[in-house]
């Protein structure tokens, strides 16, 4: 591109004269109430940003405690039942309060109307409500923690959770039930918005892939979450009244619980990863200055992942005593999900091919995503094969596998997105050098933490125990060391992003020279987003269009 200088595409306005727009969504109104009662999707996104960050660090603290306990083979930091509470809280918070709402809540809320050329989501009040519902669920989760914790594992496994444990299962189940409503409301809002609020000229195949990914994830939220809700209601009722839909002693079937639970919780994996894939598509295209290779294939693969995601849940239950014929069917179907995921990875790789690649921080996180998610996905194929699964399931291999997908995939994408859209959200750039350091630290720390766990699991170390045989200590120490590095890597962005709010360079409206509609308006955007409704008169990711536009607009920059 003409604007590219050296090995970067960043083009910032002249810092000596540049200033933020006078009126934007952040300074449009002042006072706590103007935030708590706001219906502006951008402000709600920031509310989500603060709250998911808060819960991320609480969940992270539990991860730290778990790794600290596993430093030695004996349960010497905490007793075994406390350890159970640690990993339960870690799982509940990270999955339901961080991963599921993080990218949709923060970036989806902020960007979907901007990318569509709309003034707001279809139901702004519902959007605010979904944040309050989320906070209510979060508060209840913390209440369960403060009251004494819950030790079922995040899976609420029945009849363990319904008849055998004496912890705050009902509180936790209700917390998750309520949080589920938040994600249903978000999903409904996104689907309606994408169907009904597209600006003139914004056809389905001119939508950025971020929107396709969010559309698919929203379908999963709407169709899957209610099944989790009803399952948790049944667990709570069963526990409350001592009856047995899930208790074999009373004629119930614990596998029914598993079926209903995983009918949601497997698609939930795609709720967590699909929006991340949307972020990656945007970032890859921008930093290789090319239209996404196979746009249509990537768009449809999102929908395919959402659809196939509903056909594979039983692979979580292969060793639980399900029918082996049924397991065979589900094992085959599981292999199918690998196809659309691979389509995405290959298409991103082909987008990179012969692109003008530059290595800004979002792109570094993005490369981290592509590597780690591929490993996570491929080990998923191991686990989906019937024979291997018998050996590997419920070991650290599974733990490593889903952390590669969820953390290596979802969290890396979240950080890529936060860095990528930070200039848009705040009007200021993050500091480039230290953020590259953070990206690299995260990548190294992550691999150091979870690669040893593949080995541990393959050697047969079962998950969810506070103690382990001494011969596994070396690998566990490595993993704990990696977790320390990783924790450091996650602290950094919080610090320098906060710093950049005041001291960061003024970003201007389009620091990356990206093509999305969100980059064609001021940063931070004004409350009403677009002073006049934009018209999408070009294809998506059209860098030539952008170059022409910039050329003709030299005089009106600002």
């Amino acid at each position: 591109m003409s604007t590219a200088v050296g090995n970067t595409i960043v083009s910032l306005p002249d810092q000596s004269t540049a200033q933020l727009p006078k009126r934007h969504y952040i300074n449009n109104e002042y006072g706590l109430l103007s935030w708590l009662l706001t219906e502006d999707h951008k402000r709600i996104a920031l509310l989500y940003l603060f709250s998911v960050t808060f819960f991320f660090f609480i969940g992270g603290a539990f991860a730290g405690l778990i790794r600290l306990e596993l430093l030695t083979p004996q349960p010497d930091l905490v007793a075994a039942d406390t350890y159970n509470k640690f990993f339960t809280m870690h799982g509940l918070i990270m999955i339901f309060l961080f991963l599921v709402p993080s990218i949709p809540g923060v970036m989806g809320n902020f960007l979907i109307p901007l990318m569509l050329g709309a003034k707001d989501l279809a139901f702004p009040k519902l959007n605010l409500l979904s944040w309050y519902v989320y906070m209510a669920g979060g508060t209840l989760t913390l209440a369960a923690l403060v009251l004494g914790g819950v030790d079922t594992g995040w899976t609420f496994t029945a009849p363990l959770s319904t008849h055998y444990l004496n912890t705050h299962v009902i509180t936790a189940a209700m917390a998750i039930f309520i949080t589920g409503f938040s994600s249903i409301l978000t999903g409904i809002n996104f689907i309606v918005t994408i169907h009904r609020m597209r600006c003139p000229g914004m056809t389905w195949f001119r939508m950025p892939l971020f929107l396709w990914a969010h559309y698919a994830a929203s379908l999963l939220m709407v169709l899957g979450t209610p099944v989790l809700a009803v399952t948790l209601v049944l667990v709570a009722l069963e526990r409350l009244f001592g009856i047995g839909v899930f208790d074999p002693a009373k004629g119930g079937d614990p596998l029914l619980f598993q079926h209903l639970f995983w009918f949601y919780s497997h698609p939930a994996v795609y709720i967590m990863i699909l929006p991340g894939m949307g972020v990656i598509s945007e970032v890859v295209s921008t930093f290789s200055r090319k239209r996404i290779f196979g746009y249509t294939a990537v768009a449809f693969s999102s929908v395919a992942i959402a659809l196939f995601g509903f056909f594979v849940w039983e692979h979580h239950m292969f060793i639980m005593g399900v029918s082996s014929y049924s397991a065979l069917v589900f094992s085959l179907l599981t292999m199918l999900v690998a196809v659309p995921s691979a389509i995405k990875i290959f298409n991103w790789a082909f987008t990179l091919q012969k692109g003008s690649i530059t290595f800004e921080t979002p792109m570094l996180y993005c490369f981290g995503f592509m590597g780690l998610f591929t490993i996570g996905g491929l080990t998923g194929v191991f686990l989906g094969s019937l024979g291997m699964d018998v050996h590997l399931t419920e070991t650290y291999f599974v733990v490593a596998h889903f952390h590669f997908v969820m953390v290596g995939g979802g969290l890396m994408a979240f950080l890529a997105g936060i860095h990528f859209w930070w200039p848009k959200m705040t009007g200021r750039m993050y500091p480039e050098t230290i953020s590259k350091l953070a990206a690299v630290t995260t990548f190294i720390g992550f691999n150091l933490t979870f690669l040893p766990q593949f080995v541990l699991g393959y050697l047969g170390l079962p998950r969810r125990y506070a103690a382990y045989p001494p011969e596994f200590q070396v690998l566990n120490v490595l993993s704990t060391a990696g977790a320390t590095v990783l924790g450091f890597g996650y602290m950094l962005p919080m610090l320098y992003l906060a710093w950049s709010l005041k001291y960061g360079a003024i970003a201007g409206s389009n620091p990356w020279q990206a093509t999305g509609l969100e980059w064609q308006i001021a940063s931070p955007p004004p409350t009403e987003n677009f002073t006049e409704i934009p018209i999408m008169d070009h294809e998506v990711y059209d860098y030539e269009w952008l170059a022409n536009k910039t050329k003709n607009e030299v005089t009106t920059v600002g």
């Binding site: 139901f123 999903g187 069963e238 009856i243």
Partner: protein, 252 residues
């Protein structure tokens, strides 16, 4: 997604901009036209009902599994429900749905007093339904047929002792009647909870209709509530045969 969905006619939106702009107080700023807002509202409502299908779907599936496993217990336990109250309640709910449908029509036709009357009638029928339902619940409470520690199976192991024409169940199968009653209470209870929420919303609608909110062509809340109320009907239309009519011809 087929490509037909992908056609948003730009010309159309522009036309909307010209003549459809802000003429109703209910028109919210971020929608281009009132029509767009109405469609978004009803689509959103349908998506919500989609989640309700899946929510009740989980319980219907549990019912399917256990009914096949414990058919004798389900049949006998089901016969202890009052089929006359069940049928009456079904009729009541259908009538209530009819009133709601007329209410939607009245709102669309801007007939305020008819709208008010129909909403009130809908509410009244809903309350009567819940009244019958609670009398049924109370009967089960007296018979110790509420699952839990006080559940009593003697009526199923020794039906003759209670003057009931049924084959006695062996003790372990008799215990499984608890599963039936648990599903009965869970499903009808969830249904009743939805009705209670619906009745609350109806009161709100009556208040607004009385204020004249729906007399000027703005009918989205009434229409969308109508969808919700009919959905509750739908759930009951399945619950009624599945819970009350499993085997009404014992010992033939």
């Amino acid at each position: 997604m087929d490509s037909a969905l992908a056609t948003t006619d730009p010309a159309d939106l522009h036309a909307g901009q010209e003549h459809g702009h802000v003429s109703l107080p209910q028109h919210r700023h971020h929608f281009e036209t009132v029509e767009q807002q109405r469609e978004a509202g009803s689509f959103g409502m349908w998506l919500f009902l989609l989640t309700e299908i899946m929510f009740f779907g989980g319980m219907f599936f549990a019912y399917l599994v256990y009914r096949n496993w414990y058919y004798p217990a389900f049949a006998v336990a089901s016969n202890q429900l009052s089929v006359s109250i069940g049928t009456l309640n079904t009729m009541l709910l259908i009538t209530s749905g009819f009133c709601m449908a007329i209410a939607v029509w009245a709102a669309e036709m801007r007939k305020r007093s008819l709208l008010l009357a129909m909403l009130m009638l809908t509410t009244l029928l809903g309350i009567v339904f819940l009244g019958f339902k609670s009398s049924e619940y109370y009967e089960k409470y007296e018979l110790h047929h509420i699952p839990g520690n006080n559940f009593n199976v003697s009526m199923f192991t020794n039906p003759a002792g209670y003057g009931i024409k049924e084959a006695p169940l062996p003790p372990d199968m008799a215990q499984k009647t608890q599963v039936f009653f648990f599903l009965y209470f869970a499903m009808t209870g969830m249904h009743a909870l939805h009705m209670i929420i619906g009745l609350g919303l109806l009161c709100w609608l009556i208040w607004r209709a009385n204020r004249g909110d729906f007399s000027s062509g703005y009918v989205a809340p009434v229409e969308n509530f109508g969808l919700y109320w009919h959905f509750i009907d739908i759930v009951w239309l399945f619950l009624y045969p599945l819970l009350y009519l499993i085997n009404r011809h014992p010992l033939h």
